[in-house]
């Protein structure tokens, strides 16, 4: 499994980095931390890069390096990278330009598999999308954003599964809330849910929501299958049927103490573009972390 953790600033990205690295190390996946700095207008990008070079000659870090340094210190503190005796702090010499506005920090003594630290500049969705497409990530972990269009663009255009670390509280004991229905994507969501539940040893609430008076056979079967799968994998779980509208019911149930996991919408990209989708609505209205499995 390959995980991409998207970071934009020190101010808001603490929980994202923390949750992302915990998931990455427990699942033992190859991980990239991507810092996306602000977009520079094409009229001025050369002037800005000249200014940045001059700043370096004064030993002043160019913008973005401070976020990398913060990442680096976090990784050292949490022992994801081993402290080097002679080189205990972050040094700009470790920053390597990989071309196309992409720089990588050379990390020594990495404690977990294939960890890399990347800096790019530009529009966050374009940069994430390009990174995911070029290096085939399975999961993108990113912080919640106040912008509604951001959630839309993430779900619509990022190819990997997406975990939005929304409103994350480190002291909270979370349970998983898995939305189960008879669609194909539920299968994938279940597999993902099992891995996360096993890794963190947490309980799973399986919820099947329907607006109909009588629950259909296929939904019942889907719920049974899900329960069986949890039992076989040794995950504690509780299955239930709730009557109601999917998005509101799921969001109400999740409150702030669940991590919602659901499969992607089965509609075509064009329908999703114009009419939105259930995962998108959930992401926009819930007050807890959400994982959309693709």
């Amino acid at each position: 499994m390959k995980i991409l953790i998207g970071i934009s600033s020190k101010q808001y990205s603490g929980p994202t980095l923390d949750v992302g690295m915990r998931i990455a190390s427990i699942l033992n996946s190859s991980t990239t931390i991507l810092d996306v700095g602000q977009k520079i207008s094409e009229f001025s990008y050369k002037d800005v890069s000249i200014a940045n070079e001059l700043m370096e000659s004064w030993d002043i870090d160019r913008p973005g390096v401070d976020v990398l340094e913060w990442d680096f210190e976090y990784l050292q503190k949490e022992n994801y990278i081993k402290k080097q005796s002679n080189e205990s702090s972050f040094s700009k010499n470790l920053l390597v330009d990989k071309g196309n506005g992409r720089s990588e920090v050379f990390l020594k003594g990495v404690a977990i598999k294939n960890l890399s630290l990347i800096l790019r500049n530009g529009d966050i969705i374009e940069e994430l999308r390009d990174e995911v497409q070029s290096f085939n990530y399975d999961l993108t972990i990113i912080g919640g954003s106040g912008k509604r269009s951001m959630a839309h663009d993430l779900i619509q255009y990022i190819d990997s599964s997406i975990f939005v670390v929304n409103n994350f509280n480190q002291k909270q004991k979370y349970k998983i809330l898995l939305a189960v229905d008879d669609s194909k994507s539920t299968g994938k969501a279940l597999k993902f849910g099992v891995r996360v539940a096993q890794a963190f040893n947490i309980e799973v609430d399986l919820i099947t929501i329907s607006n109909d008076q009588v629950i259909s056979e296929s939904l019942k079967k889907a719920s049974d299958r899900a329960e069986k799968m949890m039992r076989r994998s040794g995950v504690r779980s509780k299955a239930q049927f709730v009557k109601g509208e999917l998005v509101d019911t799921l969001v109400d149930f999740a409150k702030e103490d669940h991590i919602i996991i659901m499969g992607k919408s089965s509609h075509s990209p064009i329908t999703k573009f114009f009419l939105g989708s259930k995962p998108l609505e959930v992401m926009q209205s819930c007050q807890c972390p959400v994982l959309i499995v693709k």
Binding site: I50, M55, D66
Partner: protein, 472 residues
């Protein structure tokens, strides 16, 4: 759906959302093309205006790379039959483009001489330790230097000086404080007000001079320009410093230890070396050339001679110039000027000028006020949305066709295009200070709107009281 895989459908949708302005301007241009030409506008003029509309929407939205916009302008000029390929090619290159190219290359050459440390020493030697004096010093030095060397060079060189002071004052260089805001804006606004001081202060001044000469509307020498505009620069310096000080009064009133540390740091770089002396000498020669030789050879050729000397004396390598010059901007200004010339030649500029005059005259009742409104207010607003040089390139031919003394209108337009205080994209220096992450977009408005109004007023007063006394 339609035989496309889900992934390719997503790719198409992504492209469409990112390129919506390109698609929209393409559709609009096709529909305008089939509209009958309005009365008084030739078919060529009609088509030229379509190109202007496409170019403006693509420059503002940045939905395709700027060099692609530049190339599109040239292609459309030929394909829409506005001019022949050779005609477009000759309007594409002019002394103004030589100047923009030369001044960008000069900037690279000067920046790589390590003169920023000297500049730092100069600033603090003049200003001393008081923070308010440092702010005045930053505004003055940025303004005076940028009027000769160009704002992007000065902006890039002053930025590390400001950040070094902030760091030496014991503040984090990554955290926005009042001190960081006041110092960084001193650079950006100082450079903006300085750039009007001489023709070489900014590419847009040269574009205007080029238009005046090309359209046979008059010539203005380097010194005449200085005579007209420098009083404005001098008047603006204390005003900018005062407005910034009031908007972002820092708690640090004294910067003793910061200045001392900076002096120690700069002293390590030693005395001026021979390369630096040579670099300064060449620039002074270029400056002399602009004053005395530009009426014969043109400002652009003089700037390029400077680049020639820097290269042949080995003060800068071609590799460095090639790497750090924004070729895309040069292409875009070449195309924009070519479009400006076509606007004049096809009568499109005259038509727009006429329409604007007759429309605005209903509101203002007086043609002088209308002319003033367009060349000052519209230019000032557009410059904050586009970029100053592109604004002058496109608006220039229109304002020059509005009647009145073209030299006065032209210079007013050039000056107003420096009122780039309100947005990040307005000028390279605004972008440079924004790139540090210490200045937010709303900060520009906070101090900028007052300065915008005062700048307009000063220009008005100077043009009414002072300009009639000097004979241009």
């Amino acid at each position: 759906m339609f035989g496309f895989s889900e992934r390719s459908l997503t790719n198409i949708l992504f492209w469409v959302t990112r390129k919506k302005w390109l698609i929209l301007s393409f559709l609009l241009s096709i529909s305008f093309f089939y509209f009958p030409s309005p009365e008084g506008l030739s078919p060529e003029g009609h088509r030229t205006l379509i190109i202007v509309m496409v170019a403006l929407s693509l420059i503002i939205s940045e939905s395709i790379p700027l060099p692609a916009v530049a190339i599109l302008i040239l292609i459309m000029e030929v394909v829409l039959g506005v001019d022949t390929a050779d005609g477009v090619a000759s309007s594409f290159m002019s002394d103004a483009v030589f100047f923009i190219m030369g001044s960008l290359m000069l900037a690279v050459s000067i920046v790589h001489q390590g003169l920023d440390k000297r500049l730092a020493l100069l600033v603090i030697n003049i200003t001393g330790n008081k923070t308010w004096k440092i702010v005045v010093g930053f505004v003055s030095i940025s303004a005076l230097l940028s009027s000769f060397i160009g704002e992007h060079t000065v902006g890039a060189m002053m930025l590390p000086v400001a950040l070094a002071l902030i760091r030496n004052a014991g503040l984090e260089t990554r955290k926005a404080t009042k001190l960081s805001s006041v110092l960084l804006f001193s650079i950006a606004y100082g450079c903006a007000i300085g750039s009007i001081g001489t023709p070489s202060g900014g590419g847009r001044n040269v574009i205007m001079i080029g238009y005046l000469a090309e359209f046979g509307m008059g010539k203005i020498s380097y010194l005449d320009w200085i005579k007209m505009t420098y009083p404005i620069v001098i008047l603006q310096i204390p005003i900018v410093a005062l407005i910034l000080w009031r908007a972002f009064t820092p708690p640090q009133k004294n910067m003793d230890s910061a200045v001392r540390k900076l002096k120690v740091k700069v002293a390590k770089s030693g005395k001026l070396n021979s390369n630096q002396i040579m670099a300064i000498t060449i620039f002074l020669l270029v400056f002399g050339g602009w004053i005395f030789l530009s009426p014969i050879f043109g400002l652009g050729i003089v700037a390029l001679s400077g680049v020639f000397f820097y290269l042949s004396f080995g003060l800068v390598s071609w590799k460095e110039i090639n790497r750090s010059t924004n070729w895309g901007v040069i292409l875009l200004f070449g195309s924009a000027i070519s479009l400006g010339i076509q606007m004049k030649e096809t009568g499109a500029a005259l038509w727009v000028a006429g329409q604007t005059l007759s429309f605005l005259e209903i509101i203002f009742q007086d043609v002088t006020i209308v002319r003033w409104f367009v060349s000052v207010i519209i230019t000032g607003i557009l410059t904050n949305l586009l970029s100053s040089a592109a604004t002058v390139a496109v608006l220039g031919p229109i304002v020059l066709d509005m009647g009145g003394n073209p030299i006065i209108t032209g210079i007013m337009t050039s000056i107003s295009s420096a009122f780039a205080y309100l947005t990040v994209v307005a000028s390279p220096t605004c972008m440079i200070i924004h790139s540090t992450g210490l200045i937010t977009s709303s900060d520009y408005f906070r101090a900028g709107w007052k300065l915008f109004i005062i700048s307009v007023l000063i220009l008005l007063v100077v043009s009414i009281i002072y300009w009639p006394f000097i004979e241009i």
